[in-house]
Amino acid sequence: MSQNGHKVIGTRPIRHDGVDKVTGRAIYGADIQLTGLLHGAIKRSPHPHARIKNIDTSRAEAHPGVRAVVTAHDLPQIADKLADLGEAIVNLRDASNNVLAYGKVLYKGHAVSGVAAINLHVAQEAVELIDVEYEVLPHVTGVLEAMEDGAPILHEDMKTTSMGEETDKVSNVANHFQHKMGEPDDGFAEADVVIEREFTTQTVHQGYIETHNATAHWNEEGQLTIWTSTQGAFSVRDQMSEILQMPVSKVKIVPLEIGGGFGGKISVYLDPVAALLSKRTGHPVKMTMTRDEVFEGTGPTPGSYLKVKMGATSDGRLTAATAYMAYEAGAYPGSPVGAGAGCIFTPYDIPNVQIDGYDVCVNKPKTNAYRAPGATNAAYATETVVDEISEKLGVDPLEFRVKNGAKEGTRRADGPVHPRIGCIETTEAALNSEHYRSSLAKSGNGKVRGRGVASGYWFNFNGGRSAISVSINPDGTINMLEGSTDIGGTRASIAMQLAETIGLEATDIKPYVVDTDSIGYTDVTGGSRTTFGTGYAAHATGQALIREMKERASKLWDVPADAIDFEDGVFSYRDDAEKRGSFKELASQAGDAGGPVVAQVSTNPDGSGGGAFATHVVDVEIDRETGKVDILRYTAVQDAGTAIHPSYVEGQMQGGVVQGIGWGLNEEYIYNDEGSMTNASFLDYRMPTTLDLPMIETIIVEVPNESHPYGVRGVGEVPIVPPPAALANAIYDATGVRLRDLPMSPPRVQKALAENGG
C-alpha cells in the first residue's frame, strides 16, 4: 500500500513495455521491414533564402535503381488557412511548403525534392543528381535584425497581425500581442528597487536520439498507411489528410515506438514525401533522417531576445513587471512566444504587469515545441532579475519567492485566475531542503564555487481528447487499447490508474498503443497531458467497468444491481455476505451473463491540467581560466499533484533538468555569415553526457489537482524551465558576474569573467 490510501498509485511497478525495450525487441519507427520496400532520401537547400528558378530531376530519374522523384509540384497547392490540428495551430499552406519548398527556400536544409530507390545509398546518390537552380536572396537569422526596417523579407505577403486584426505593414513580424494588467508605471513608481535587463537565447534542439522516420504505403485502392514514430498518430493523420487533400478515412497511421519527442515529433516532415513516392511507385517507401537533417530540417526551439523590468518595495513586495519578448518563429509564423508570455511572471503575484510578445520569421528552420515551449527562455530572464532584486534587498532569494509567490486566486498577467496550485509549497520545500540548508564548501583547487536557485511554471494543457477501449479476459486481466503514444512510461501510468480504479494490480492490465483505425481520436502526447488526460479516461473506463460488472453480478446473483457495492476491489451484495467476489473472481463468470465484458470511453475533461511549478537549487564550480562550469550538486523540486509512478516522475524531472543544463551551458545552433549552421552533429552540438553531471536529486511535492480524480498534474515539461536561470545565478554567486546570454559556454563565461574582472 502506498501513501494516500492508494493501492497501485504511488508504487513503482516495472513498466509493461520494459522487457521489450531492454532486450532490443521493441520496434521503433526505423525498425519496420516490409516486402518490396524502397528507400527514400531528401534533396535539401544549401541556401538560407533563395528563389527556386528550376528543378531538373532528369539525371536523378535516370540513375540506376531510382524509382521515383517528387517535388512540391506533386503536392496539392492548398489555401492559406489556419487549422487546429490537435492542440497546435497550423497554417496548412506553410505546413505543405515546409514539407517540400514551393517557390522559395527559406532556410538551409529546407526540403526541395524526394527520391525513392532500391536502397538508401542509391537514393542518396540520386539526391546529388537533382539539379536545382536558385536565385540566392539576402537572408536574416537574428530576431532583432529581422524586425528592423529594411530587413530581408521572408514572406512578401505577410503582414503583422495583432489579436485578430491585420495591420497593413509587410514585415517579418507575424504577430504582436500584449497582456496588460493594472498600471505598470504606477507600480514602478511605488518600487524602491527597479531592475531592467536584456537577455538573449539561441536556437536549441530537442535532441531526441531517434531521428525522424516514416514508412508509407499507398495501396491500389487508394488507402494510405503510414508507420512512424510520432507524439500523435491522429495529428499525423489530420496533417496528412490536409496536406495531401484526402479524406481522413483513407489514411491510417500506425504509431511505432518513439525514441524521444519533447515536442519535436508532432509536425510531419517525411511522411507526405514518403506517401507521394509510394503512390508513384506502388511500393512501400521508408524514409529516415540523418542526424544533420534532424538539426537542419526539423523544428528546433527558438532563439529569443527579452527585456524584463521588475520593481519591488524595500519590504520585499513586487509591485510591477514588464517584458518585451521577441521570439524567432523560423521560416514560418508560430514561435512559442505566446506560451512564453503566459509563463514569464506566473510564479509571482504582481499587481501591475505588461507583456508584449512578437513572433518573428527568420531564415532558420520553422521552430517547433520543445518541452514547456517558450517558458525556459522567459524564466532565464525573469528568474535572473528576481535574483538581482533579492540581492539588492538583502533577502534570501527563496524567501523572496515565497513572499511573492502565486497561489489560488492570484490573477495571471494574461488574465485567468490560478486554481489550487503548489507554487509556494514547492518553493518552501526547496527552502527547507537538505541541499539548500547545507553550506557550500570552498573549492580546494583554485576554482570558485557558487549556489543558485530559480523557479519555473508551465501551464499543463487541459486534458484534451483521449479514448480507451478495454476487454476483460476470463482470467481477470484486461486488454487496454489507447491512442496516446508512450514516450516515457505512460502505458504504465495510464494502466496504473485503471488498475487502481477497479482494484487490480498494474500487471493485470495489458496496455497497447494502437493505430488510428483501432481507437477513438486521441490528442498528442504533449502539453504534459497524457498521464492527466488519458489517465482521466482510464479512470472513467474503470468506472464504466465497475457499472458493467455490477450488472453482470446482478444477473449471476439474481439481485438488484443497485444493491451491489464495490469497495477495495470487491463486489458485494449488501444483504447477503455470501454474495461477493473480487473483480477477478467475477471476471471468470461474467461472460456467462451477457457476453464478453468490454468498455469504450472517450473523455475531454473541462478542468485544468493543473499548473506545474518547479524550483531548483544548483551548486557549481567554475574554472576561471577555461570558463568551464561544473555542476557539483543539483536538486529539483516540483509539484506533481499526485505522482502515479514516482520513478517516472523523478525521471521526467531529472531528464528535464539535464536538457535545461545543456541549454544553459552548451547547446546552441552556431550560424556562419552565410546563414548556415556549422555544428549540425552530436559532436559539435554538445548535449550533456554522464560525465558532465552528478546525480540529480528530486523532491516531489504533491498538491492534488482538483480537476483530476486522482489529483494528477502534468509533470513532463516544467523541469526544463528553471535550470539556465539557476545556473546563471550560481555563476554570479561564484564570480560576481551576471551572464545574460545563453549558452553560458566556456568561451562566453571566460570572456565575461575577463571583461568584468570576476
Partner: protein
C-alpha cells in the same frame, strides 16, 4: 452578467474599457451581445461567416479553454478572457 476582460490590443473597440459585463448563457450569445454593444468584435474574434473562433485566438471561461465552436455555457459570475492561442505550445 458575465465579466469580460478585454485584451489591451482590443480596447480600441471598447473605448479603452478593460472590463465589461455582458449577458449571455453561452459564448455565442456573449459574442453576439458583445458585438451589439461594441461593434467590431465579431470580425476580430470569429472566422469569417462562421460561429467558430479564429484558430489563433483562445477563449478562456473561468480559466479553462472554451471549445472553438463556442457552445460552452457561461454563468452569471463567469470570467471570460480572450488570449492569443498558443501555437507550437505542445
Amino acid at each position: 452578467m458575465a465579466t469580460i476582460y478585454i485584451p489591451s490590443l482590443m480596447r480600441d473597440l471598447t473605448g479603452g474599457k478593460e472590463i465589461i459585463h455582458i449577458e449571455g448563457a453561452d459564448m455565442r450569445q456573449i459574442i453576439a451581445n458583445l458585438e451589439t454593444a461594441y461593434p467590431g468584435f465579431k470580425q476580430r474574434l470569429l472566422e469569417e461567416g462562421t460561429q467558430r473562433i479564429k484558430p489563433n485566438i483562445a477563449v478562456m471561461i473561468d480559466g479553462r479553454n472554451a471549445r472553438r465552436i463556442l457552445l460552452d455555457k457561461v454563468n452569471e459570475d463567469s470570467e471570460i478572457h480572450f488570449l492569443p492561442a498558443i501555437s507550437g505550445g505542445i
